[in-house]
Structures are given as C-alpha cells and as structure tokens.
Symmetry: C2
Subunit: 154 residues, 2 copies
C-alpha cells in the first residue's frame, strides 16, 4: 500500500536507502515522515510515542535499525547529551548542517548555535596532532540567569 501523494523528501530518502541496498518500506518512510515533520529534538522513546499517537505502528527494533541508517547518511543528526542519552533531529538543508546545542537544565529547552571560529580552532588542534576530525560533540548545559525561564522542569 503505497502513499498516493508521496512526500517530496521521499525521493532523497529512497536514494539513501537504495545506496545501502535497502528497500523503501512503509515503516522506513513513516519514520522519516515523523522525524522530518518536526524540528524537535527527541529520544527514541518520545519518537515511538509520537508515532503511536498518530496510529503509526513501528516497532522499537525497526526504529533503532532505521535511525542508524539515517544518521549514517546525514538525514538525521544524533545528539549526545552529557548524560550519555541520545536525541535525534532531522538535518534538512534549511538548517545549518553543522550546529551545536546548549540545553537549559531548568526548562529542558534546547538552543542551537554555530560558530565558525570553533571549527577553525578544532581543525588547527587536529592538524597539530596530525589527525582529521570525523565526528564531533560539543554541547553545553546551562541554567537560567533569571526568571525568564518559566517552563516546567523536566
């Protein structure tokens, strides 16, 4: 049962799947639709709950398996929290492909930032060690300076 009006992003996703020799199954496209439809940063559990809310049934195992492929090919971005937990967000072209995160530990809100100087410094450090950066984690946790942070703790 194919979608009658396929999401235009499916073309890109199908290309990625094909490049891995994987089939474009309903579950894989459903997962992409869910993740690409929101700019939220979500963990596996939340994504599963959100899918279930929409009556889209995808098993936990399939979600893990699929997300790995999407992350590998840059369709999704995997965020490593300093707690060791992971969050995922889509990596559409409209968003800076390289950006870091600052998490407010009072309200849980996640802000994104990007600074070119940091990249330059990182590159120089790696060069000095004769290394080439392949992956990077740069994340700050912060607390609010004032009462503007009115969200609930999470």
């Amino acid at each position: 049962m194919q979608n009658l009006i396929p999401c235009r992003f499916h073309v890109e996703v199908e290309a990625v799947l094909k490049s891995e020799g994987l089939r474009a199954t309903k579950q894989r496209l459903d997962i992409w639709d869910e993740l690409s439809s929101s700019d939220k940063h979500r963990d596996i559990e939340t994504i599963l709950v959100d899918l279930k809310k929409k009556k889209i049934n995808v098993s936990r195992a399939t979600l893990y398996r699929t997300i790995d492929v999407f992350v590998k090919h840059g369709l999704l971005k995997k965020i490593t929290l300093d707690s060791g937990k992971f969050l995922y967000e889509h990596n559409k072209k409209t968003i800076s492909p390289k950006h870091d995160h600052i998490v407010c530990e009072d309200c849980g809100e996640i802000f994104e930032f990007y600074d070119n100087n940091i990249s330059s410094i990182e590159k120089k450090i790696a060069d000095d060690l004769n290394l080439r950066v392949t992956k990077r984690v740069h994340q700050l946790s912060a607390s609010c300076n004032n009462d503007q942070c009115s969200h609930a703790k999470n």
Copy 2:
C-alpha cells in the same frame, strides 16, 4: 584497618567525603588511590579490572556510587564519548582543570587539548541567551592522516 602511611591526597578526599556527610571507608580511599595513581582515561569495567589486578576488592556498585561523588566534587572528570559511554580520569591540580579530548578512532588514543578562545565563545553564546554554562561536553573523534598511528584498533 587504616593505612599506616596515608596518601597525601587523602586529606583532600576526606574533606570532600565529610562535606557530603560520608565516611572515609577503605573502599572509597582505595578507589581514589587507584584513579589518582594514573593519568589513564578508563571506563568502569577497566577500573574494576585494574583494582582486581592489585587484589583490591571493591564491588561494582560501590565503584559506581563512589565515582559519582568524586565527579560531583571535581576530584574526577567524567568524559562522555559520542557513543554515550563514559570514561573517568583524575582531576589533579597539575593538569589543566578544564580540558577537552580528541580520540583517535584508529588506535583509541586520547589526546587532551584546551583552548581559551573556545571558552570565550561559549560564554558569549550563553550570555546572548541569558544562560550560564554549568556543564560542557566537547569532544572530537578523528582518524590518523598517515601511518604514524600504529596501535591496534579497539
């Protein structure tokens, strides 16, 4: 059974424990001795093995419980790898208290770096969002540019 010649760092550790209302038990001091005796970056499992080699018996549970306290008080530094795993290293005054890591994914070697400009940029970013940085993760994974990296993969 107290150590006859207590490690001079025990004074500091005992102060930390006292500040938390915790007792200076043999296990807690043993854990500190083991971690402070080496500049290695180790995970829980490796620390346990290293303790066992020295015939020092500390249970896994006690190690987890104790390490958390030491990290909280800055005696140890917890490193979050982008795989979500953790490594620990001691945080003696002779080492820059704030430093980041670059891991060679070919040989597993961990290099440390510190750049003041990055701190400044981070502070500015947080300031602009009216936040105050409380924790930070900044870690690079890299591969070797040449054959100098001769260690075994891990």
